[in-house]
């Protein structure tokens, strides 16, 4: 358990140091390259705004109306038996479909339960550990005109299911409930 915590603490600094050292050795103009790349960050974030507003408004209405609470109440007994926290179900369902939609749900969970709660950590892990399956399938197959994806959809969605279970398991194991 300590090993994983150490990995968490060191991962980012070690990655940054590696990039900088390799960049220096290979004579990359570090500062100029950084600025050039960081410029794209502004556009990327601004492009995210309409998507996030759309999804966060819908999620926010769904929650504040009481519909989310009602859904949780219905699903709770079933999910409880499977030892799966019902608050995470909407995120698990939306993760493969929409990246901005699931980001909106993670934000919603952060606001209500905090980032350092079990739910906050599990949501972070679920969101960060996989990509938006249906989006990737559409872009990749669409780009070369494939209409029959064969078993690729099944494999993508099943591994998303594995990712959800693994996220809850990894967070429970590392941080406890």
């Amino acid at each position: 358990m300590n090993v994983v915590a150490t990995v968490s603490a060191f991962a980012l600094p070690v990655t940054l140091a590696t990039i900088l050292v390799v960049g220096l050795v290979r004579r990359v103009p570090l500062y100029e390259s950084f600025v050039e790349g960081a410029k794209e960050g502004f556009g990327t974030s601004v492009n995210l705004i309409p998507h996030l507003i759309a999804m966060m408004v819908a999620v926010s209405v769904f929650r504040s109306s009481g519909a989310l609470g009602f859904l949780m109440g219905v699903l709770h007994p079933l999910l409880n038996r499977l030892h799966f926290p019902s608050e995470l179900l909407p995120l698990a369902l939306l993760r493969p479909i929409s990246g901005s939609g699931s980001l909106a749900l993670v934000t919603d969970l952060f606001k209500h339960f905090g980032t350092d709660s079990f739910l906050g950590r599990a949501a972070s892990t679920m969101q960060g550990s996989t990509d938006t399956t249906l989006y990737v399938l559409t872009v990749y197959f669409g780009s070369v005109g494939i209409r029959d994806p064969r078993y690729a959809v099944k494999v993508g969605l099943l591994s998303d299911l594995v990712s959800v279970i693994a996220s809850v398991w990894a967070v429970t194991w590392m941080f406890g409930k």
């Binding site: 290979r26 996030l52 408004v57 009602f70």
Partner: protein, 196 residues
């Protein structure tokens, strides 16, 4: 996506009306829109920083360095692709970029690999087994540094924004392994069925 968005809204409005709390809809709309803007702006700092570092990694040729290490793995993953075919180079470059967290670089490399796999594909509009493997690798997407999540956690005042790196790494390793195993399983089964 249309259906989900519509459903979230309409169910919310209907439930609010039915329970006599219609004013919560307006409240929800205003709060949601505000949060959308705040979160997007808050993420600028981390996304800009990360893309800056990634540009250095890209220009330092880290993708190519990692590609050398991944070649044997790629041969095993894509037995139907001749190892000197250009498709193999793109497949490996896509995998390297994904592992390094270079999402922006991984997609064009993946699409290039798709075009080259299509040239090896006997059926124009049906996915080849190699394409299915490429998709399995990209939907599971092995992630080493979940930069966006660290940024979002910072924005919500997490005491330890990076503490989820370890759990994310575990989850992504398990999921990617599962994707590879599932892909193999379904590939065998479909080959058994068609006899091709």
């Amino acid at each position: 996506m249309n259906v989900i968005w519509f459903a979230l809204f309409m169910i919310g409005i209907v439930v609010a009306a039915a329970t006599g709390r219609i004013e919560t809809v307006t409240e929800g709309v205003l709060n949601g829109a505000k949060d959308g803007v705040l979160v997007s702006f808050g993420l600028i700092s981390v996304i800009a920083f990360w893309l800056g570092m990634m540009k250095i990694a890209e220009q330092a040729g880290l993708v190519q360095s990692l590609a050398k290490l991944l070649r044997p793995l790629a041969r095993w993953l894509y037995p139907s692709v001749p190892s000197n075919h250009p498709a193999m180079g793109s497949l490996i470059a896509n995998m390297s970029a994904n592992i390094l967290g270079l999402g922006n670089a991984a997609t064009p490399l993946g699409l290039k690999a798709m075009r080259e796999l299509q040239s090896l594909n006997g059926y124009r509009d049906t996915a080849s087994t190699a394409m299915c493997t490429l998709l399995a690798m990209n939907t599971a997407s092995l992630t080493v540094i979940p930069a966006t999540m660290i940024g979002l956690r910072m924005e919500f005042h997490s005491r330890a924004p990076a503490e989820i790196v370890g759990s994310t790494l575990l989850a992504t390793l398990v999921a990617t392994t599962a994707a590879i195993v599932l892909d193999r399983f379904f590939r065998r089964r479909s080959i058994g069925k068609t006899g091709a």
